[in-house]
């Protein structure tokens, strides 16, 4: 089912958590709500679930206004960040809770619960009370409870937050398949950008100021709406260098390490403006001295990680710049080196506002004049 949020406002006493939030989620889509804590992601989920009511605005599910519709009538499955298992019921009864409400027969219920439990590998602990379950098992029980009635809308509130790193990694691999099989519209809340990138068809980046950007993981990663979002996605974090684009030899360039770095022609109108140049560490690569566009740097340290090697270097002006390359590929470990970048991958932000400057396509003469 599709979900449409329009101009949602919600305040608790004097604290406005959501001010004018609008968002639409298509049927069958997995939308990730990504952002720091306090951004109002959980509140948004609860509004959709119907356990709290918005102060203003409208929530429509499949076009139907949800105002005044009780949570039990919304046909939603939800997993809570704190699991919120029923402590006095065993795992089986917890998972069966959405089925008992639908008055299914005992045998059908048993079959469904066991199927979901097998899928989530908790079929051996079905008769344990929540306090006898490990954190990972609690999390899977909570997830199983959300899934058991095969709801057409699934709200997952940071379900991997309270589990250990190993399990989180496993679940990050398993969840996309699981969610795909559910055939449900999913809203997934997380603070982990990798989770967001791995699970979302689209990502909505939310901060205390509301929804900042909505887009596919690629869009968010390659064309972040502002420097804050650029910093939130990517590890190592994006290089942000203060530059002022200038016109040199018929090209738009920015000076990095006293060398002109060519930018896209579409940035012509930004000449002379104080900007921030965003360079993803993995879009930089080492080149031989003298090759076109080579920028001299001084290597500071090299950090080999499992799948990649991250090099911290200094430009001639002493600015730090990080370069990431796949592990095992050759590269200098110390001393002088040269790097080059792909003009298309560089992102330009306005220095005053931090907003991304979209490349504009227009005639060059007009811009120069």
């Amino acid at each position: 089912m599709s979900i449409e949020l329009s101009n949602i406002r919600k305040a608790f006493k004097a604290n406005t958590v959501l001010a004018d939030v609008s968002l639409s989620i298509a049927k069958g889509e997995t939308l990730v709500l990504f952002g720091p804590s306090g951004a109002g992601k959980t509140v948004l989920l609860r509004l959709i679930a119907g356990v709290i009511e918005p102060d203003a605005g409208q929530i429509r599910v499949n076009g139907r206004d949800m105002a005044g519709v009780e949570p039990e009538d919304r046909g939603i499955g939800m997993a809570f960040q704190n699991f919120a298992l029923f402590p006095h019921m065993d795992a089986f009864a917890n998972i069966a809770a959405p089925l008992t409400a639908r008055r299914q027969s005992k045998s059908v219920m048993k079959e469904t619960v066991e199927k979901v439990a097998r899928l989530l590998k908790i079929d051996h602990v079905l008769h344990h009370k929540p306090k006898e379950l490990s954190n990972g098992q609690k999390q899977r029980t909570a997830l199983a409870r959300a899934l058991s009635a095969a709801p057409s809308i699934l709200l997952l509130d940071d379900p991997l937050r309270n589990v250990d790193a190993k399990l989180r990694f496993e679940m990050r691999l398993e969840l996309p398949r699981l969610l795909k099989d559910q055939n449900a519209t999913v809203i997934y809340v997380t603070q982990d950008y990798k989770e967001a990138m791995a699970l979302g068809h689209r990502i909505a980046v939310m901060t205390a100021h509301g929804i900042q950007q909505v887009g596919t993981p690629e869009e968010i990663y390659l064309t972040p709406a502002n420097t804050d979002i650029a910093r939130l996605f990517g590890d190592p974090v994006i290089n942000l260098l203060d530059v002022r684009p200038e016109w040199q030899g018929g090209q738009v360039v920015a000076m990095v390490s006293d060398r002109p770095v060519r930018l896209l022609d579409q940035y012509t109108s930004q000449i002379g403006r104080d900007c921030i140049l965003g360079l993803r560490p993995e879009s930089l690569h080492f080149v031989a001295e003298g090759s076109p566009g080579a920028i001299p740097v001084e290597i500071e340290t090299e950090t080999p990680l499992n799948e990649k090697t991250v090099t911290l270097a200094l430009t001639l002006r002493g600015r730090e710049i990080m370069i990431s390359r796949p592990a095992g590929t050759p590269g200098p470990a110390s001393g002088q080196a040269h790097i080059a970048l792909n003009a298309a991958s560089a992102v330009l932000f306005d220095r005053a506002t931090g907003q991304r400057i979209a490349p504009v396509r227009h005639s060059m003469n007009e811009a120069v004049a």
């Binding site: 039990e72 809570f80 704190n82 699991f83 409870r145």
Partner: protein, 285 residues
């Protein structure tokens, strides 16, 4: 725990012994008294050496009090039944009324909810006599004086605020998410109340029930004014031991032992409810 110096340990031990002695001594003394005749109780100096007798208990159970001045009928067993019936019925009514109200005060923030809750609590601030004078007149006019129904109603003044405020705290301690999860799973408000809130507040409801039972049991002044002999609880009935030929200490002691027995048993039984944690590890800190 930190290492404790011998002196500190000695002082602590002494303090604990003194406190225990202070609280336990009257109970032990009463227990011993209940097996003695009036003569051995009143001898000077008092002694713990005596030949035990069951005559106090037999007098209470048979209802025949033998004094020097002659035989006296007392209805101690009837009083005991009255106490049991009045307290139990009051607590049950108090739970039926108070628990849903406590839930409403805990979960539904409606206009004036705090004021109403506080007003109910304030019944406990006023001296009971303040309410009793007008009540006596009304009760006589309404025909409620000297009826179990009337007494149970008045006992709500003791029981209801206690239940309301204790149980409300327990309801507030249940993470709202657990109830939300049950609602979202497709259950309506009432079944969430029955299946989630009530069982999880169980220990609190037991504690409130126990406490209010004890308060109701120990109440004196309501029953003294509003009930006559056949409806009187033990607290008022004990006055019968003050006879023309003196105070029957032995029977008073036996009466006290019998009358604290039910509350004592209840406290021992319900202790595990009071100790058992509420959340049981379902929600991660």
């Amino acid at each position: 725990m930190d290492t404790v110096s011998p002196i500190e340990r000695f002082l602590r031990g002494t303090a604990i012994t003194l406190v225990c002695l202070f609280f336990m001594f009257p109970i032990i003394w009463i227990f011993l008294m209940s097996f003695q005749s009036n003569e051995t109780i009143l001898r000077v100096p008092p002694s713990v050496v005596f030949s035990p007798t069951l005559e106090n208990y037999t007098a209470l159970i048979t209802g025949k009090l033998e004094t020097q001045a002659g035989s006296l009928d007392i209805d101690f067993m009837g009083n005991l039944f009255n106490s049991l019936f009045l307290s139990t019925a009051s607590v049950l009514l108090g739970l039926v009324l108070g628990v849903p109200a406590a839930y409403a005060f805990a979960r539904l923030k409606f206009r004036g909810s705090e004021d109403i809750a506080f007003t109910l609590l304030s019944f406990r601030f006023a001296p009971p006599l303040l309410v009793l004078l007008p009540l006596t007149i009304y009760f006589q006019q309404l025909g409620l004086a000297n009826t179990y129904g009337g007494l149970i109603w008045v006992y709500q003044l003791i029981v209801l605020p206690l239940i309301l405020w204790i149980v409300r705290g327990y309801f507030e301690d249940i993470p709202a998410d657990i109830e939300y999860a049950y609602r979202i799973a497709g259950h309506d408000f009432w079944s969430t109340f029955w299946r989630i809130a009530l069982p999880l507040a169980g220990p609190g409801i037991a504690a409130a029930g126990l406490l209010s039972f004890i308060f109701a049991w120990n109440n004196f002044v309501f029953a003294l004014v509003l009930a006559s002999a056949d409806k009187q609880p033990v607290t008022v009935g004990a006055l019968a031991f003050v006879t023309a030929s003196g105070i029957q200490y032995g029977q008073v002691a036996a009466g006290i032992v019998l009358s604290i027995a039910p509350t004592f048993a209840l406290a021992v039984y319900a202790q595990r409810y009071l100790v058992e944690g509420l959340s049981l590890g379902a929600v991660k800190g």
